[in-house]
């Protein structure tokens, strides 16, 4: 069994994962934040695309469960020498990996690796497709804050088209009962949202007064995010979470951002440091969610 997407996962399973993550948050709060559950298991981080925070988070989660961790990054590796994805994956399996955490610029790479190796795979981000543990850590952060997601009104703002985070969150949030509005200029909206249970608009100011959550996406220069609108100042003027916009949100509304933040673009300094900006809660919850996922996939006979 692998964890490749939040799409189509039954609500009961998502909630069970969040419940388990709650327990792992309690484990992480102990004086000795470590349990022996995955002793002797080997978790391989296969990062074919750069990421520091996600890899560190998975590494922390695996170690807190007493698993061993092996890190592979594409830069300077056999992949740079032309080894195929399949050969790399089979090599990592032959080295004894019990589970692989995979990030790749190509959508579907984690699923291929799961099929080739027969090992459980956690998708840590594949192209513009999915980043399911991000979706779950964001859901956990909202559940902690509001007690549940039922009826929450969430605006996901920014580069939806290039965002696997948006895709993961749309399906996790809506399955858990939230309503989601995608807010972006036309050029950053997905080509099609057919089958997505969401609304879409290009007018952030029009929805500010009626949302509980503003989820800001990072403008991803590396995925062409800069080429589809005229200029950064224009983006900021219409979609940046400025202090002025923040003050127009309902009093209990919160702001999330998956990081790394482009301060002054998606989010102003004054907002990023505000107690209702939950960015660091998201980071902390990421460890607990990843522990829950690793334990679910490795803490049993399958």
């Amino acid at each position: 069994m692998s964890f490749l997407t939040t799409r189509g996962v039954p609500r009961k399973d998502l909630e069970e994962l969040l419940d388990s993550a709650d327990e792992f948050n309690r484990v992480l709060a102990r004086p000795i934040p470590k349990v022996p559950a995955l002793q002797g298991k080997l978790v391989a981080n296969l990062f074919f695309e750069d990421s520091t925070r996600t890899r560190l988070s998975f590494e922390r989660a695996a170690r807190a469960l007493s698993a061993d961790v092996m890190n592979f990054s594409a830069a300077g590796s056999s992949a740079a020498k032309g080894e195929s994805l399949k050969d790399t994956a089979l090599t990592i399996r032959a080295l004894g990996a019990d589970l692989m955490v995979v990030r790749h610029k190509a959508a579907g790479a984690p699923r291929r690796i799961a099929a080739w190796t027969g090992r459980p795979v956690v998708n840590a981000g594949d192209g513009a497709h999915q980043h399911p543990t991000q979706g779950m850590l964001d859901a956990l952060t909202l559940r902690q804050r509001f007690g549940g997601l039922d009826g929450l009104r969430v605006a996901i703002v920014g580069d939806i088209r290039h965002s696997r985070v948006a895709r993961s969150n749309v399906f996790a949030f809506t399955a858990l009962g939230a309503g989601v509005t995608l807010v972006a200029p036309r050029t950053l909206q997905p080509v099609s949202t057919g089958g997505w249970p969401v609304d879409a608009t290009d007018d952030l100011d029009g929805v500010l007064g009626e949302v509980d959550v503003v989820y800001l996406l990072r403008i991803q220069a590396e995925r062409g995010g800069l080429s589809v609108f005229p200029s950064l100042p224009e983006y900021v003027s219409r979609y940046g979470m400025t202090r002025d916009r923040f003050d127009r949100l309902p009093a209990e509304a919160v702001v999330l951002h998956p990081g790394p933040m482009n301060r002054g673009v998606e989010i102003d300094d004054a907002v990023a440091g505000h107690p209702r900006a939950l960015v660091l809660d998201q980071v902390a919850n990421g460890v607990a969610v990843r522990m829950a996922v690793l334990f679910r996939l490795l803490g049993g006979s399958g």
């Binding site: 327990e23 349990v35 559950a37 334990f295 803490g299 399958g302």
Partner: protein, 196 residues
């Protein structure tokens, strides 16, 4: 004390009826207080059925001693030695209401069988502190230990064959009445939740 062996529907023999469970827990409550020599014990139930049993013992103690022992709950899922041989189970809540360091801790479970659950529970406890003493109270000891572990307080010693299954039902968790049944089953399986 004699234990009537009654046969319910499906020919599954009842070895402890609701009244027997109540009497056993009451006796165990007295034993626990006597064994604590004036100190207040912390009762820690092992999920699933150890938790309501610990609560009931605490209520019994409150009934005759006047003060209520703190009750905790322990999920041992992260400490099992057989994780690889069973399906992944969701974690239940682990809550210890007080610092257990230097306290008398009484672990409470429904069925004592191989002892592996208790070993895992002791490991789990040690992650929270260093108790002065850890004791073990079980409703049923069915034998077949695989580890050097023995109970301090036992509701009923129940000789069984390894192939038999001991089912404990408690109103807080299961439908119907309290009771302990013994039924033929797959070898190595014990407890209504299949825990060994």
């Amino acid at each position: 004390m004699s234990w009537p062996l009654r046969v319910l529907e499906d020919s599954v023999p009842l070895v402890m009826a609701a009244a027997d469970v109540r009497k056993s827990l009451s006796r165990m409550a007295h034993e626990i207080v006597e064994g604590s020599r004036g100190e207040a014990p912390v009762l820690v139930g092992i999920h699933t059925r150890g938790v309501p049993l610990a609560r009931r013992i605490a209520s019994a103690i409150e009934g005759f001693a006047g003060s209520r022992a703190p009750v905790g709950a322990l999920d041992i899922g992260l400490y099992r030695d057989d994780l690889a041989s069973r399906p992944a189970m969701p974690l239940a809540a682990t809550r210890l209401p007080v610092d257990i360091t230097d306290r008398i801790v009484v672990l409470v479970d429904d069925v004592l069988y191989t002892g592996r659950t208790v070993r895992a529970a002791m490991d789990a406890l040690n992650a929270f502190g260093r108790p002065a003493v850890i004791r073990l109270a079980v409703l049923v000891d069915r034998g077949h230990r695989q580890l050097p572990i023995r109970p301090d307080h036992v509701g009923k010693n129940l000789p069984t064959a390894a192939s038999e299954r001991v089912s404990v039902r408690l109103v807080e968790i299961d439908r119907g009445e309290d009771g302990v049944w013994i039924e033929p089953g797959a070898p190595g399986i014990s407890g209504a939740d299949g825990r060994v």
